[in-house]
């Protein structure tokens, strides 16, 4: 299976790196025997290596790493004195580890590891028996159970080098392995800092823009030209997708970490939870995965600590003893969807609403008008933390609002489905790659703009009489639902946000509109909120390469970045989350009014 191979490659690369780190740390420790940091780091690395190897089913490697971990466990606890002698063994052990890793690639090769392993075990045993005694005095009484002979070629290759070490047989054998292996530990993978890939992606973005420009300029002249451009088009797009592909990693990388996280949280909460993973082979941009990882951890922890009931609670409500938690990934068009499903108690909309009122996030009147769905969405509001008490597990650090911010920042959307007593599902939809995104281009008085397709729901043309104005707000009906309308021309004309709060100037364009004029509206949907953006003219749908604005504009509101069009002009990309949040926050009533109008 392709997925397994890739995982194996990653494992090998990591393992080799681990052994290199170990070599370095052993050297550090040898120089300064009391280096506590190094001891801790070695313990951690051997532990990871052991766990990873065991997970991949490489039992020999796991056993070897395990023994090394044990040694350092003893050292950590202060029961073993570090002296020069044990370093020889440690370095040898590390080389054997290297050899074992190599063996994963070439299984036909035989690696002897039992000798050194036993030697380390003896060290541990003796230190336990008489911790005060010096280890060097211990007779190393390893029986020659090195039953698998080193292959002939290996011995021939190495025997000349090993001659200067006049020690016992087992040690010699170990030495042989050491010398043989240090010569060829090369991984087939190379590590590339993500920064370099970012740079490549930037360049590709510029290339695409330049290509568009050249084609726009010359594309219409002559038939022969068309062919050349078709090839240019093909090559650039292939290049772009190859680079995007390099940045993709399997969600597995992240998902696999959850076994441990779920176990720990469940143990702490005294609950039983079965975690199942689905769609682990789905690939996603490494940067996106990194951005959402904390959010996922938070959601999973929350699900275990708040979603899933205690064992008694579950049995009482007729559920299985162990709670079920499912992490699933799937891809749909250009989107990656990750769902976190628990079969716990579900989210009680009224409880959420009550707390939101207490915290002053909404008013009592608003709560009355809100649907269950809207109430549940309140958990994403800043200042709302669903946990009654702060436990060690959730309620630490990030809140749900941080989760949503993280998802927003990559142009994703988070949704909740919850049925009381049955369970909760969080759905995260996000782009599979940050490089290009589909966008709808439109025109305003001040220039060209783009809105990412992930936020657009529909495009409609309406007449002025279909718009009603109430106070400073405009509304229209779309598919039987009342939605707020905003003239982007007016919104972008505002000098600062106070003006927005006052609501002045937002109707200017509306009043100027003639009664029979067709009004172009883009229906935007974000976080279950729908709003119509009124624009001057719709242009086209296009794949764009968005770049964030540079200093000193990196913090501007309403605009998330810019792209350069084929004609060389700058096209600003509208920041939908920022606009919607500003609009709904500044006039909390808006959403309520919407409801009233609908009634």
């Amino acid at each position: 299976m392709k997925g397994d191979d890739e995982l194996k490659e990653i494992f090998l690369a990591e393992a080799l790196e681990n052994t290199e780190q170990l070599n370095k740390l052993f050297t550090d420790l040898e120089k300064d025997n009391s280096n506590k940091k190094a001891i801790d780091a070695i313990f951690r690395i051997t532990h990871t290596l052991k766990a990873n190897a065991a997970g991949m089913g490489f039992s020999d490697l796991a056993a070897m790493a395990h023994t090394m971990e044990d040694v350092f466990n003893v050292i950590k606890s202060g029961n073993m004195v570090i002296n020069a002698d044990i370093f020889n063994d440690l370095f040898k052990a590390n080389d054997v580890l290297c050899a074992l890793i190599e063996q994963v690639k070439t299984p036909e090769k035989v690696v002897k590891f039992k000798g050194i392993k036993t030697k380390l075990e003896v060290l541990i045993r003796t230190s336990k028996e008489k911790p005060e005694e010096k280890i060097s005095e211990e007779p190393v009484k390893i029986n020659s159970q090195t039953d698998t002979p080193v292959s002939v070629s290996m011995q021939a290759e190495v025997s000349s080098v090993t001659s200067q070490i006049p020690v016992e047989d087992e040690v010699k054998e170990v030495e042989q392995i050491e010398h043989e292996e240090t010569a060829i530990a090369f991984s087939d993978n190379i590590h590339v800092p993500i920064r370099k890939l970012d740079n490549l992606l930037d360049l590709i973005g510029e290339l695409i823009i330049e290509k568009d420009r050249v084609i726009a300029m010359n594309g219409n002249s002559g038939r022969s030209g068309q062919n050349d451009y078709a090839r240019l088009q093909r090559i650039t797009s292939e290049l772009q997708y190859s680079i995007m592909d390099v940045r993709l990693v399997q969600v597995n990388v992240l998902f696999n970490k959850f076994h441990r996280i779920v176990r720990d949280v469940a143990a702490l909460e005294n609950k039983k939870v079965d975690l199942s993973l689905e769609g682990t082979e789905i690939e996603i941009d490494r940067t996106i995965l990194q951005i959402i990882s904390d959010s996922l951890v938070h959601l999973v922890r929350n699900a275990v600590s708040h979603g899933i009931e205690s064992t008694q609670g579950r049995l009482a409500s007729g559920k299985s003893e162990a709670g079920k938690l499912k992490l699933a990934a799937s891809s749909e068009r250009e989107e990656i969807i990750i769902t976190i499903t628990d079969d716990g108690k579900g989210i009680h909309a009224e409880t959420i609403a009550k707390k939101a009122i207490e915290k002053g996030i909404i008013t009592r009147e608003m709560a009355l008008l809100m649907s269950e769905e809207e109430k549940i969405q309140l958990i994403f509001e800043p200042g709302f933390s669903s946990a009654e008490t702060v436990t060690a597990v959730s309620g630490r650090g990030v809140g749900m609002d941080v989760v949503r911010k993280a998802i927003d920042s990559i142009g994703g959307v988070i949704g909740i489905d919850s049925v009381v007593g049955v369970g909760t599902t969080f759905t995260l939809r996000m782009p599979s790659s940050m490089a290009v995104k589909g966008a709808l281009l439109f025109e305003l008085r001040t220039g060209d703009f783009a809105v990412p397709l992930s936020y657009t729901k529909a495009v409609v043309a309406i007449q002025k009489k279909a718009i009603r104005s109430i106070g400073n707000n405009l509304f229209t009906t779309y598919l039987g639902k009342t939605i707020a309308l905003v003239y982007l021309n007016d919104l972008f004309q505002l000098k600062d946000r106070e003006e927005l709060t006052k609501g002045g100037g937002m109707l200017e364009s509306y009043h100027k509109t003639n009664d029979d004029e067709k009004i172009q509206v883009i229906i935007i949907t974000f976080n279950n909120k729908e709003i119509g953006f009124v624009v001057d003219k719709l242009l086209q749908q296009k794949e764009i390469v968005e770049k964030p604005l540079k200093k000193p504009l990196e913090n501007v509101k309403f605009i998330s970045g810019a792209t350069i069009l084929g004609n060389g002009n700058v096209c600003l990309v509208v920041d939908v989350p920022s606009i919607i949040q500003s609009l709904f926050r500044n006039s909390k009533i808006t959403s309520v009014k919407t409801q009233q109008v609908a009634v």
């Binding site: 510029e206 823009i209 330049e210 001040t446 220039g447 060209d448 919104l491 972008f492 004309q493 505002l494 000098k495 600062d496 946000r497 106070e498 770049k547 604005l549 540079k550 200093k551 000193p552 504009l553 913090n555 501007v556 509101k557 309403f558 605009i559 810019a562 350069i564 060389g568 002009n569 700058v570 096209c571 600003l572 949040q581 500003s582 926050r585 500044n586």
Partner: protein
């Protein structure tokens, strides 16, 4: 060009003195200058896309050699602008200024000149550089050259002040 030469001749007699180059541009009736190492290039002003919710002297962003850069109008920033709308093509040139941190454009009407000056030409007396208003701490000094008076500014101090303003604005409580 004449300016450069005449100044050069004056300096020629005592060439031992360290000289450095400045770029002089006109903002309304005044002459301003930047040290040449703050300037990357001079380009024809591209078409500018206005950015919402920014101060009026941030004219917007433009495409300068494939980079989307902020473009600002210093005359507006310094409060000496006499024109309401300057996007009508009167500011034909854009000075691209760059440091490790910033890269942006400054609108100017005419092609800027270069001028070689010595340290002695710059009046850095505290009376000028640290006048009461905080605003002016981006002024590095006044250069007197013949009967000209040129204000030497540190463009990145202007920008970082601008950034603070922007930040103050965006962190407004919602």
């Amino acid at each position: 060009m004449e300016d450069i030469q005449t100044v050069h001749k004056q300096e020629g007699t005592n060439a031992v003195k360290s000289t450095f180059q400045i770029i002089v541009f006109r903002l309304e009736e005044e002459e301003y200058a930047l040290s040449i190492d703050q300037i990357k290039e001079v380009v024809i002003t591209p078409s500018i896309a206005r950015i919402p919710l920014t101060q009026s002297y941030i004219k917007g962003v433009g495409n300068i050699r494939g980079n989307v850069l902020a473009i600002m109008d210093l005359a507006d920033k310094f409060g000496i602008s006499t024109e309401k709308d300057i996007t009508n093509g009167t500011h034909k040139y854009t000075l691209v200024v760059a440091s490790d941190e910033y890269k942006m454009g400054i609108l100017v009407k005419d092609v800027p000149q270069t001028l070689r000056v010595t340290k002695d030409d710059i009046d850095e007396s505290p009376a000028i550089v640290q006048s009461a208003t905080l605003e002016s701490n981006y002024i590095k000094g006044i250069i007197k050259s013949g009967n000209r008076m040129i204000v030497l500014i540190d463009i990145f101090k202007v920008i970082s002040k601008e950034e603070q303003n922007l930040l103050a604005r965006t962190t407004d409580k919602l």
